[in-house]
């Protein structure tokens, strides 16, 4: 019991004193767990960063990507990435980010190509994840670039070597979280308690008119927006 208590206290204190202590890894250890083997790391460490870190060896062309896409992806995402029904749209939407109904796709919205490779490799095709070879994923990523007009030559080959050179058009339109600068957050004065607005409240919009609540909604009722993501 007392043996167990001590290291606990020390860790608590070192963290309080400075996060750097814990960071440097010189806090107390419990000697639990075992060292991961290289094969285990290889099996699970599949993430890819925008600078190309984590990319496996491999390559694939637009033309080959089209074949794989037609067979494994088009049933949900459409022949040209335009989507079937309510499955996600993968291409198009350029110039719609300020429109009433923005269409956020790889070409119109995504900041980095690495995300396409990483995500398709880890989660697609939906229902059969991790079934594609690394070369297949390169080819599909190349084809998605082609569907989004980022590359125009169907002989284009994407590989580990040229991957990090490719930029997606919307990369520079992402900004840091600046919510605390918004006027209603920056202004921390006491809110009004009495006679805060002049006239009696009048209704501007009813949810009932749209009637999209499940209990009362018909099958065809659709919300004004595309739902949650």
């Amino acid at each position: 019991m007392s043996k167990f208590r001590k290291p606990l206290l020390i860790i608590g204190l070192s963290v309080l004193a400075s996060a750097a202590t814990a960071l440097a890894g010189d806090g107390e250890h419990f000697k639990l767990g075992r060292v991961a083997t290289p094969d285990e790391l290889l099996a699970w460490d599949i993430d890819v960063r925008p600078d190309g870190l984590g990319l496996p060896d491999g390559r694939g062309t637009v033309a080959h990507g089209m074949e794989i896409f037609d067979e494994n992806c088009a049933s949900c995402h459409g022949d040209f990435g335009e989507a079937v029904g309510r499955w996600p749209v993968l291409a198009g939407g350029k110039g719609t980010l300020q429109a009433d109904r923005p269409e956020k796709t790889i070409g119109s919205y995504w900041p980095y190509l690495s995300t396409v490779f990483d995500y398709v490799r880890r989660a697609m095709p939906f229902g059969n994840a991790r079934s594609l070879s690394d070369d297949d994923v390169y080819a599909l990523t190349a084809y998605l670039l082609y569907l989004n007009d980022v590359v125009t030559n169907d002989e284009f080959e994407l590989s580990k070597e040229n991957f990090a050179d490719i930029k997606l058009p919307n990369e520079t339109n992402f900004i840091d979280d600046d919510r605390t600068k918004e006027p209603f957050y920056a202004d921390k004065s006491e809110p009004c308690m009495e006679n805060c607005k002049p006239d009696k409240a009048t209704i501007k919009a009813h949810a009932a008119i749209l009637d999209v609540t499940p209990e009362d909604a018909g099958e065809d009722d659709q919300p004004a927006n595309g739902g949650i993501e």
């Binding site: 860790i11 814990a22 960071l23 890894g25 010189d26 107390e28 250890h29 639990l32 767990g33 790391l41 699970w44 460490d45 993430d47 960063r49 029904g85 309510r86 499955w87 980010l97 300020q98 923005p102 956020k104 919205y109 900041p111 980095y112 690495s114 995300t115 995500y119 880890r122 989660a123 939906f126 229902g127 994840a129 339109n173 992402f174 900004i175 840091d176 918004e182 209603f184 957050y185 809110p191 308690m193 006679n195 805060c196 607005k197 006239d199 009696k200 409240a201 209704i203 501007k204 009813h206 949810a207 749209l210 999209v212 609540t213 499940p214 919300p223 927006n225 739902g227 949650i228 993501e229």
Partner: protein, 423 residues
């Protein structure tokens, strides 16, 4: 089986005999006096006469059959497939600050992983002194802590950016829950592997079919994050990440990786799909905010509300709701019954814990007139819950995420209630 049938039959017979007896009695004697009384009192109820089921009838207990309507519900057209979908906490049916485990909303991207805890591993690697693998048994040998936190999906109230849409707080605000977690501080586990000084970010990954991933700043990881295997005193529910999940207090729910299997340390964020394509907030300018981790100060009146209209008429009325903030505790909640013209400070009851739901009440005498109910929360950092119009004024209507605007419920003279937007 046989005894059960015999007993039921005998009981049915008894009951039939008795009913006949009562009828005879009623016609025979003081029928008037009997009719004046409440039969719930004047008549002997079955449960008062016949013993109920024995102790082991439901070894794992479940709610009363009369509460069968208190369930999570989804909105089928919101998503393309139930495997990657969401359902909602019935906020209007619960009270206090703890959400019962079976009512906590669900959001999965690749369905519910059914994981054998004996086959589950947690790997810690990347910029560490030595990459480690832990079994569930290993994790349970670290010193643990118990903490109560809310978890809110960043898309909670997301539908309402474009105006009043869904009739019921379950649908407008039900992607939030609050439970007590049992687990190990994340820093304890990272420390075991020894984070290198260059390490600035953590990637957390799930073992489900979406292999969900999010980048978490190391500062947050070392502050108050947990690796939790328990909720509300028992093991995590499968739909909440059994056998182990990440807890990222006050930050958007998507980061609380369920079925947690991997923690990698790096010097940059990984720009995963859920922090680029999704969970970025598109502004009217066409620019999009990223890494908007914190869930802002928010509240909603849960009763009365569209799914819980006023059925009792004029007189004493209990108005209640929940408030929460990723910044810490809720300092105050104000309630308005006239659509924000005048505000009354509500009473917060129950524990007031940082980054947890707070329960508020405002009791008043309803005169039967039309009401516009609103609640406005203020957190301990001094942030005041904004109106939806204030939010739209700065951000536009296409942000999807982080809608913490003040909600209005319109109460008619009959007591029916509707989600509205007002002047």
């Amino acid at each position: 089986m046989k005894t059960e049938t015999t007993r039921t039959t005998r009981r049915a017979l008894l009951r039939a005999g008795l009913a006949g007896g009562t009828a005879a009695l009623t016609t025979g004697t003081a029928a008037g006096a009997r009719a004046a009384g409440d039969p719930a009192i004047t008549e002997i109820q079955d449960w008062n006469r016949y013993p109920g089921k024995g102790v082991d009838a439901t070894p794992y207990g479940s709610p009363s059959s009369f509460e069968a309507h208190v369930i999570r519900k989804n909105v089928p057209w919101l998503t393309s497939d139930p495997i990657s979908s969401v359902n909602f906490t019935p906020l209007h049916e619960i009270d206090g600050i703890i959400t019962p485990s079976g009512l906590c909303f669900e959001r999965h991207h690749g369905g519910i992983a059914e994981i054998d805890p004996n086959a589950h591993r947690l790997m810690v690697h990347g910029m560490v002194d030595k990459p480690l693998v832990f079994t569930m048994a290993d994790l349970k040998r670290f010193p643990r802590e118990n903490r109560i936190y809310f978890l809110e999906c960043a898309a909670n109230s997301g539908m309402e950016w474009r105006g009043a849409q869904l009739n019921g707080c379950q649908y407008t605000h039900g992607m939030v829950h609050c439970v007590m977690y049992t687990g190990v501080p994340l820093r304890t586990i990272l420390n075991e592997a020894g984070v290198k000084p260059e390490g600035k970010w953590l990637l957390a990954e799930g073992a489900d079919a979406s292999a969900m991933t999010r980048s978490v700043p190391l500062e947050k990881a070392l502050d108050d994050c947990m690796v939790a295997f328990g909720m509300n005193g028992e093991a995590l529910r499968p739909e909440q990440g059994y056998p182990v999940r990440l807890v990222v207090p006050g930050w958007e729910g998507n980061m609380w990786i369920k079925w947690l299997r991997r923690l990698e340390i790096g010097d940059q964020p990984w720009q995963q799909r859920e922090e680029t394509s999704k969970y970025t907030d598109l502004l009217a300018t066409g620019k999009a905010r990223r890494f908007t981790f914190l869930m802002d100060v928010k509240s909603v009146i849960t009763n009365p509300s569209p799914q819980a209209p006023i059925r009792h008429g004029k007189g004493p009325l209990v108005l209640t709701g929940v408030a929460w903030s990723g910044n810490g505790r809720i300092k105050r909640v104000d309630v308005s019954v006239d659509g924000g013209r005048n505000w009354h400070t509500a009473r917060i009851d129950g524990p007031s814990l940082p980054k947890a739901l707070h329960r508020f009440y405002y009791e008043f005498d309803w005169d039967g007139s039309e009401l516009f109910l609103q609640s406005r929360a203020i957190d301990e950092a001094g942030f005041v819950q904004p109106t939806k119009d204030q939010l739209r004024g700065v951000r536009g209507s296409n942000s999807i995420y982080h809608n913490n605007g003040i909600q209005t419920w319109h109460v008619t003279e009959e007591g029916s209630i509707e989600n509205v937007e007002i002047s």
